[in-house]
């Protein structure tokens, strides 16, 4: 029989030896100096994130202050944008941003939810991983490449094959009036739709995967068909998360810049027709900021950026809260490259 050592077995690490004056368990409680330093450094690094969001807001607000003072709240509903006369109103851009995002959601939501439902509920197992990967790859394509594709492939396609039948059937509505030149709200909305499908699909998929199998089994056990199980049990269970996923996609669409700038036509004008050129807030900043010569011009664009920033923050915060309610704490969507 071996005698028990009087002291605990010495740890293999030499650094422990150098601190032998302290009780050994001190390190476990995290009260020694190096642990405090480590935690301190990490905390400081983590604090850059809250700091960043505050700095962004304050900086944009300060930059926008001259415009805010000059135009007041009427900036939001004035539709004149005249750099020569120094009169600025963001109404056309706000309208264009909302309208293009709405078109994008109309197309992307059914598509993305369809993808998510297919991948979680119906697809054969060997199909799931590759298809999920390919759809997520849509998020990896740079915005400017989408823009290039939109200009040279999508717009000619719309002009030859989509707009003529659309005008023939729905030409009497206010939404499809006027001559189609290519760069238009419609083109912007479609490009945006393709760009946000991967986000909505990836998050919805994770939400649906988080729905307990018992929900499905219960519905199936009561004699529901597979679709009825999805429709009556799975989707209602994940509803908050799915709405969160859609709002997350909306946030992406609102702030998307390059692709939209390249296809939406960039005209300061409010037109209900999807065939007419429009403008978005992000596109206006991208187009005009480097040409903004006067400080009031720059300030007006900074105010546009501030509005965009606040809107996307609210939208994203809302989306996160909804998603967290279903898939608690998970960084859903981060896997969608």
């Amino acid at each position: 029989m071996t005698t028990l050592p009087q002291e605990p077995v010495p740890a293999p690490s030499p650094s422990i030896e150098t601190r032998s004056t302290k009780p050994r368990w001190a390190s476990l409680r995290g009260i020694n100096a190096s642990d405090r330093i480590y935690k301190g450094v990490l905390t400081v690094l983590a604090l850059t994130l809250p700091l960043l969001i505050v700095a962004l807001f304050v900086q944009l607000f300060v930059s926008a202050l001259p415009a805010i003072k000059r135009f007041g709240p009427s900036f939001l509903w004035t539709s004149t944008w005249d750099p020569v006369a120094e009169i600025y109103g963001a109404a056309p851009m706000i309208f264009g941003t909302l309208a293009s995002s709405l078109i994008a959601l109309l197309i992307a939501v059914p598509l993305a939810l369809g993808v998510a439902i297919f991948l979680t509920e119906f697809a054969p197992r060997w199909v799931r991983q590759p298809v999920a990967f390919l759809v997520e790859m849509l998020a990896a394509i740079p915005s400017v490449v989408y823009g290039l594709w939109g200009v040279f492939v999508l717009i000619p396609f719309l002009r030859s094959y989509v707009v003529p039948p659309l005008k023939a059937v729905l030409g009497w509505t206010p939404f499809f009036q006027g001559v189609f030149y290519g760069n238009s709200l419609l083109a912007g909305g479609i490009i945006l739709a393709i760009m946000i499908v991967p986000y909505i699909a990836a998050v919805s998929r994770e939400v649906l995967l988080a729905v307990p199998a018992s929900q499905r089994e219960a519905a199936l056990g009561m004699g529901a068909t597979r679709w009825e199980a999805v429709w009556t049990a799975v989707l209602p269970y994940g509803r908050a998360g799915l709405i969160g996923a859609i709002i997350l996609g909306l946030g992406r669409a609102l702030g998307e810049t390059m692709a939209v700038t390249m296809v939406i036509g960039n005209r300061h004008d409010i037109s209900l027709s999807a065939l007419q050129p429009a403008y978005t807030m992000a596109a206006a900043i991208a187009n005009e900021f480097s040409e903004a010569t006067t400080s009031l011009y720059q300030s007006a664009l900074a105010e546009v950026a501030l509005i965009l920033f606040v809107i996307t923050i609210v939208v994203n915060a809302l989306a996160r809260i909804l998603i967290w309610r279903v898939a608690r704490g998970a960084a859903v969507g981060s896997k969608a490259l």
Binding site: A11, S13, K39, P50, V115, P142, F309
Partner: protein, 276 residues
Amino acid sequence: MRKLTSALMTAVVALMAFTAVLALLLIVGDLIAKGASSIDWAFFTKSPVPAGETGGGVANAIVGTGIIVGLAALIGLPIGIGAGLFLAEYGSGRLGFLVRFIADVLNGTPSIVIGIFAWTWMVKPVGRFSALAGSGALAILMIPMIARTTEEMVRLVPHSLREAALALGYPRWRTSLRVVARTALGGIVTGCLVGIARVAGETAPLLFTALGNLNFTTNVAQPMQTLSLQIYVYATGPFDEWHRMAWAAALVLMALVLVLALVARWVTRQRYGRVR
């Protein structure tokens, strides 16, 4: 009837999945069809020629992308990884919740807004556009992304490993760095690659920071070209020759991003097997 509805809806959602995949294949197919023929040796080794002439390449943009993204990674990765480690190790409290939430919200902030921010802080005071300002903007974009993926990867490390190290008398910081972070290294590297791939394709935050430059330069205090900026200029320009170059540059950029993403996926697969 109910069986029919079920079968029909199955077909509908399958069709939707097919449509989404088709969109990707169409875009990549067009890139290859329109871009591949313009890629030759000169494309990688020469800088652009004046408008109207044929030939030339995008060597300046490729090098510029490397420098700007590299610098951004140098700034953004340490902060992002540190913040991610914080979230994984000490992130259970109120501060952790706040940081996690802000990281998620910042992830959705339009990059053009970051561009204005970087312009105000790094271009306006100096009075000149610079590659450095572009790197700053991209670093800001990277931090929340890297922080969240790092956290996720570190959380995948089994708790027993951490307990074993602590039981051996390792202090927390050594446990965290030598055992936990080391085990999660593959995942962290993956997250970094994904982050780099994402910002490498960014254009909006560079418009009024790095600005673009038709000449070859490695001076980070000067305006510098990137592939994304070059594509934007060429695609919106009036010349057919430019459009041809835009497609080729887009193919190169896309290949770059895809390779990074595939490597990332491969690393994850090696380490953790199939992630759901």
